[in-house]
Symmetry: C2
Subunit: 411 residues, 2 copies
């Protein structure tokens, strides 16, 4: 991609009401645009990062036998009344609106109810189970406050997976498999080392739920971390009983600030009960389906990564989710020609700063601000020595390569 | 993909209130699920078709230099007041809702206003123009009636592209390029032969707008078609003056029912005026940006294709958008083993009906209902003669291939 073709620009200014550091950087680098408090557009660079995050999640969920679907934002009142979650007193994040044809509808903040009802059309026998279905879907939550940039918004991208199992044992097996898959996902997203499975409050069917918490100074949560064992306890259930339950040693627990990047819940019969989702078992007996839910917010994760991995010069994207891998700057006529050829060869990997009016210093600063993993400088001078300079955005390390060596990275 | 892994089932029943033939077939074949009137979920098979349609559109729009972004559903009242389109009296399809934090917001039925405001951050000089930006985005329209299945819904997927040009001439050039690209897109979608550029009512900046109308018995529009020249006139502007303007011969025009699958509009200064989107030209003069908009509704297109290409046995998908290309049925133990190997080799191309309890007749009927382009029967009997039977869903033609010949189709 040529920089001159990108309609966004970098800027030094951010909206007056923006307090989140990651949001400021994402706006300055041209990744997102603020429509209003808690509502952000994803510009071409931001869309590419979001898509990369979603693709990693999709690949890993498909690998454990999940199927992708896409449900709607508009929600039928009756479906939510069946489980007593329509009232604003119970769910205070509802956006509701009216049909011109008459009647009230809601904007889905989550999808347990509609997917439970949907499965009534497809689950009737033990032979139909288990089912693992997920979606990437825009959720709406009428948050009172929205000051964390894209980490907590009123409209956001959510991956929500729901499991439907014939009994507790089948559920538990998938629950653990999904927890392992979440670790793989956060590793690929580049935050695996600082993301910990965290025990949080459960519900009627399970003492604990599991959160995945990423250590982060601006996180909204407090966790107590056993770094050696790689598990943590959320502040809300941090007490002697929990510590004992988990076989941890209080003196070894570090108190840390963290941001939740994923969660998994044992729902049990909470929704199959309210919406009457049942199946005939091997003996012809009618039984309730045992459910679980598994969430990751790709746009929130993007915000956490932007917050956590950035530095004073700008964003720093892990390689697998960066919008482009190489930021090319050519100095001199022969160098520019080579940049053009390389960009044509690998338009999905390279962002070439081909702007005529911009000084090299500006180009270097933009490469840093945008957080592209490698800044690649090709100059007529270094070409004479057959060398190309690769600078690692995260470490600052500089490597010199021949043109042929660099080309092998583009295939 | 193994059929046994798919959570959806085919069915003979459809919701009582469903009158659209395509919606009935899509529900029966497990492609969509009806949440309420005019609101449909896309199930795994339906999601694959929708994704394939979107990918074709994306590839063709990227090829003419457009950039993909993603804007939000939630809309700021002030932005729409600037162009006098906030009032329900002007736009009667608004869904509106309230923020818990105070204030009213709308759910975008289209995005001219927000994208015009957004571009104020990125367009300031003639050097920044032209810009072509598009998105695939869920739109909301508070339709009074919703009886056409996924052809006209209250929540739907829309591809909307917006062009920003320095003057009329630059605009006109892209407008025609985009019209050509639309023809390419509809060709790839399998409805090119029956889709015609259609002159419809314009606006302040253009006598006509262009619609792309697909001949279809349940279409909501009437067009007058010159089949030889491949252009049509929408009923709303069908008069002697238009016929003369376009150099057509009234006696050669066929009156046809058609469904709109795309449209392009010259917006001129309508929105850049209201929202003050300007640029400095080569002489330092401040000028207004000249705009256009270009829509295709992928979910609507899917409905039109389902309506138009289906027959008494079910859906018929064009190859490039079908969820899978081959529907495999194995008869006998050796044949089933080969089916399993082939499916593992090409899981994205093959849907193998591995269900144990289902009769062959049921499997054949499902292959037809689901509209998979080729039904492939492998039986121990035909294997003895080294032959595999391929049946074309659209033509009914049968071809006999060796296993090796079939395998070459899977790479």
């Amino acid at each position: 991609m040529k920089r001159s073709q990108l309609f966004t620009k970098t800027t030094k200014t951010t909206p007056n009401d923006e307090v989140s550091n990651s949001a400021k950087l994402l706006i300055r680098a041209g990744y997102v645009y603020k429509e209003m408090a808690g509502v952000y557009d994803f510009l071409p660079l931001g869309k590419r990062v979001l898509d990369n995050i979603m693709q990693i999640i999709r690949e890993e969920l498909n690998a454990i036998g999940s199927q992708e679907l896409q449900m709607t934002a508009l929600q039928n009142k009756e479906v939510w009344e069946a489980t007593d979650r329509w009232s604003d007193d119970v769910m205070d994040v509802w956006f509701k609106t009216k049909l011109n044809a008459g009647g009230e509808v809601g904007l889905a903040p989550t999808h347990e109810e509609p997917i439970t009802r949907l499965m009534k059309s497809y689950i009737s026998s033990y032979k139909d189970l288990p089912v693992y279905a997920y979606q990437f879907q825009t959720k709406f939550r009428n948050e009172l406050r929205a000051k964390s940039g894209i980490m907590r918004t009123r409209e956001f991208m959510m991956k929500d997976l729901y499991s439907f199992s014939k009994d507790r044992a089948e559920h538990d097996e998938f629950y653990e498999k999904c927890a392992d898959t979440y670790k793989k996902i956060f590793n690929r997203l580049g935050i695996g080392n600082d993301t910990f499975r965290t025990f949080a409050s459960g519900g009627a069917f399970s003492k604990f739920s599991d959160e995945f918490q990423t250590l982060c100074e601006v996180g909204e949560d407090i966790v107590y971390l056993d770094r050696e064992k790689g598990i943590a306890i959320n502040d809300e259930v941090y007490n002697d009983e929990t510590i004992k339950d988990l076989g941890l040693d209080k003196s070894k627990l570090e108190k840390c600030k963290a941001a939740e990047v994923g969660n998994i819940f044992t729902l049990g019969y909470r929704f199959s009960d309210g919406l009457d989702l049942t199946f005939n078992d091997e003996n012809g007996e009618r039984k309730k389906v045992f459910m679980g839910s598994y969430g990751i917010g790709p746009s929130r994760v993007m915000g956490v990564i932007a917050e956590k991995l950035s530095d004073e010069n700008g964003l720093v994207w892990p390689e697998e989710i960066a919008p482009y891998k190489y930021y090319l700057v050519g100095i001199g006529e022969a160098a520019e020609k080579i940049c053009a050829e390389l960009t044509e060869q690998a338009p999905e990997l390279i962002l070439w700063d081909d702007r005529k009016g911009a000084r090299n210093g500006e180009k270097f600063a933009d490469a840093d601000l945008m957080g592209i993993p490698y800044r690649v400088v090709i100059s007529d001078k270094t070409l004479a020595e057959s060398k190309i300079e690769l600078k690692n955005r995260q470490t600052g390390d500089i490597e010199l390569l021949t043109l042929e060596e660099f080309k092998t990275k583009l295939v």
